[in-house]
């Protein structure tokens, strides 16, 4: 089974009905190099919108995003990561009710917890991590980060429509892809052991 099927599996678990609303929420600072991966992903999705998929973008998540995510059936938080993952990683995110706060910003788990506490609704949520490599002040992504952006974007474009077609499959809360360019196409394969739970 390849990663695309895993994705469809996730989609199936997320969507119990056709036409469910999906939010892709990219965050980060585009002026800090690869920290702009999340906003760049959203920008790309906005150029060719996908039916039923809304986008949101900000420097970081904050408390008001609890209201935003409460209005969707599923949310994909997209952010850059410093972790040495193989390109792109998707993992499920659940509300965390004892999250400690360290900055003015809020983590996805806390946004979900607030959504559930304040609005009685908590969308199924995933964290889409794209590995970044350069974090200095400056516009534009590093070449490797751009590859990861393309990998994530291509995956979303291939799989999001399936989510809305109610395809079902195995629930895989966490997975990781390496991106490999071959004949101008992006292929998705297992990064280490394929996926991890």
């Amino acid at each position: 089974m390849n990663a695309v099927k895993y994705w469809i599996g996730i989609a199936g678990s997320m969507m119990d009905q056709a036409g469910a609303n999906i939010l892709v929420y990219g965050y980060g600072n585009p002026g800090r190099g690869d920290d702009g991966l999340g906003p760049a992903l959203v920008q790309q999705l906005q150029t060719e919108p996908l039916m039923g998929v809304s986008t949101e973008c900000d420097y970081q998540l904050n408390v008001e995003d609890a209201l935003t995510v409460s209005e969707f059936d599923a949310v994909i938080f997209a952010d850059a990561t410093h972790e040495a993952i193989n390109g792109v990683r998707m993992r499920s995110v659940r509300p965390l009710f004892n999250a400690a706060f360290t900055t003015h910003a809020v983590e996805p788990q806390a946004v979900l917890a607030l959504s559930e506490l304040l609005y009685g609704k908590c969308p199924e949520a995933y964290m889409l991590e794209m590995r970044g490599y350069s974090w200095e002040v400056g516009e534009g992504l590093s070449p490797s980060a751009r590859e990861n952006l393309i990998a994530a974007l291509t995956m979303l474009r291939r799989t999001l429509p399936a989510w809305r077609r109610r395809q079902t499959g195995t629930i895989l809360p966490q997975m990781e892809w390496a991106n490999h360019h071959e004949s101008g196409r992006v292929k998705y394969g297992k990064a280490d052991s394929g996926y991890r739970q």
Binding site: N29, D34, D35, V63, E64, T81, E83, T103, H104, V137
Partner: protein, 486 residues
């Protein structure tokens, strides 16, 4: 054996801060410092770029207060394009910027109170960190959390409508703005965004009053803590309107000492270098600004909400003015030097910001179409603004090719550098000194004093996995005696 306590980074403070407290063999505090890893390379980054890009470029500094940098840079570029030194724009140009700024101030102050301050007040500074946060507020005080979310959202929507978008807004341009406020947008803000009457300006004013009442009620029950904690005399500096009114967007620079004597007498901020200098110290990346006339030892000053209410003569909106009168009466009209009263001042400003937004939204000038003015080109300009956290300086020089050749920024948190160090020292000497054991509550007490200033260190990238808290107790040989990570 002496010990060193390290709090790194400081929790719920933007960016990376580190506190070190040195103890001698008897656990007496011998030194306490707030070190900050502040990014300073940005000033070089903008060199060589066309000046008209600056208002957008500078937002890359920070994801917390981008609007403040956007507006300060735009004001400096107004000078460059000959559009005056802050008061030469068209009515719609200035008022749209003011609406953007008051929207930013409103949502920033709301975030600080509900997210960073209220948990300490409602649960106590020695409460379990697992509940001493906004989730804890949502669990125990749901109505407050709902208000916080909607107040934040309202401010964010004002920013999006005036700046054009949430990230890297382009609303303010040299000499003016690039859009006005449509009638549809205006009606939404007045009657309720998206038909939600809770997201109306009237509700925002009411909730700002309620937040202020909450603080005042707490203050009445905890006077010793709010009045005495980390209190120390200082100078205070801010912009004020030429007639002495509180003005967060434009004015002249005024400074008062701890007794209220005028030490900076309504000077033109284009001449700030004649009055203010920055000292470099080897142990911190962040400089220490001071008033030249008073010197490095006596010239340091506070900025931000507390300083602004100490320097201004009145607040030009009725509800906030009434609160201001109570605030001033509390100290008999003298400057208020109580650190925890930053929260009180911040909430009065929150109410003022809501009132200002209401006034502006009902002003037909916002629908005018004369957006930009130009004049005689100049090669140097200074833009100042009262950002939520305090006075923000942007200074640029431009060459004949329209490229920026020099940039100097003094951000609000830099202005508050010495005061925050004073606050850390106060807490160390009053709560840690001589104690055999340093508790979680004591360590949070250090941060409570710093958080009163709502520092924003402008350097975090917010990517995943970058903001752990580590508290280490280290002896003088560098051996870690205890470590706490959260």
């Amino acid at each position: 054996m002496g010990k060193k306590i390290v709090i790194e980074p400081v929790t719920r403070v933007e960016g990376h801060g580190k506190v070190t407290i040195l103890l001698d063999d008897a656990n007496k505090v011998t030194q306490s410092r707030l070190h900050i890893v502040e990014f300073r390379g940005f000033e070089r980054f903008v060199q060589g770029r066309p000046y008209w890009e600056a208002p957008v470029l500078v937002q890359r500094l920070c994801g917390i207060c981008p609007v403040s940098h956007h507006l300060a840079a735009a004001k400096a570029m107004d000078v460059i394009v000959g559009a005056g030194t802050g008061d030469g724009l068209t009515k719609v140009g200035e008022k749209m910027r003011r609406l953007m700024h008051y929207g930013q101030t409103f949502q920033s102050h709301v975030l600080h109170f509900f997210h960073l301050c209220a948990p300490d007040l409602l649960f106590g500074i020695d409460a379990d960190p697992a509940i001493r946060n906004v989730i804890g507020i949502a669990l125990k005080h749901k109505d407050l959390a709902v208000q916080a979310v909607l107040m934040r959202k309202y401010g964010q929507e004002i920013i999006a409508a005036t700046a054009g978008k949430k990230i890297h807004g382009t609303g303010a341009i040299p000499g003016g703005i690039n859009k006005n406020l449509s009638l549809e947008e205006r009606d939404g803000f007045i009657q309720g965004i998206g038909g939600n009457t809770q997201l109306s300006i009237g509700t925002m004013v009411e909730w700002a009053q309620a937040a202020l009442a909450l603080f005042k009620d707490y203050h009445a029950k905890h006077k010793d803590f709010i009045d005495g904690y980390a209190a120390f005399p200082s100078n205070h500096v801010s912009l004020v309107r030429k007639d002495g009114a509180l003005d967060l967007y434009h004015g002249v620079l005024r400074g008062v000492d701890a007794d209220g004597n005028r030490i900076l007498d309504d000077v033109d901020y284009q001449d700030y270098l004649e009055h203010i200098a920055e000292e470099v110290r080897s142990w911190s990346y962040m400089k220490f600004p001071y008033l030249k006339k008073q010197g490095t030892q006596k010239g340091w000053y506070r900025v931000g909400p507390l300083a602004r209410l100490n320097t201004c003569d009145f607040i030009p909106t009725p509800l906030a003015q009434k609160e201001f009168e109570q605030f001033k009466a509390y100290t008999g009209g003298k400057p208020n030097n109580m650190t925890m009263h930053y929260h009180w001042a911040r909430l009065i400003e929150t109410l003022h910001a809501a009132e200002m937004m209401r006034e502006l939204l009902n002003d037909p000038d916002l629908q005018r179409t004369d957006l930009v003015v130009t004049g005689t080109r100049r090669d140097e300009g200074v833009g100042l603004i009262e950002a939520p956290r305090g006075t923000l300086f942007h200074h640029y020089r431009v060459n004949e090719h329209d490229q920026i050749t020099m940039c100097n920024l003094i951000v609000s948190t830099t202005n508050n550098n010495q005061p925050m160090n004073e606050a850390v020292d106060w807490v160390a000497r009053h709560t840690i000194d001589g104690k055999a054991e340093v508790t979680e509550g004591m360590l949070n007490g250090v941060e409570v004093a710093i958080r009163a200033y709502d520092p924003c260190l402008s350097c975090a990238t917010h990517a995943l996995g970058k903001m752990p808290l580590e508290i280490s107790i280290v002896n003088e040989r560098g051996e870690i005696l205890d470590r706490n990570r959260r």
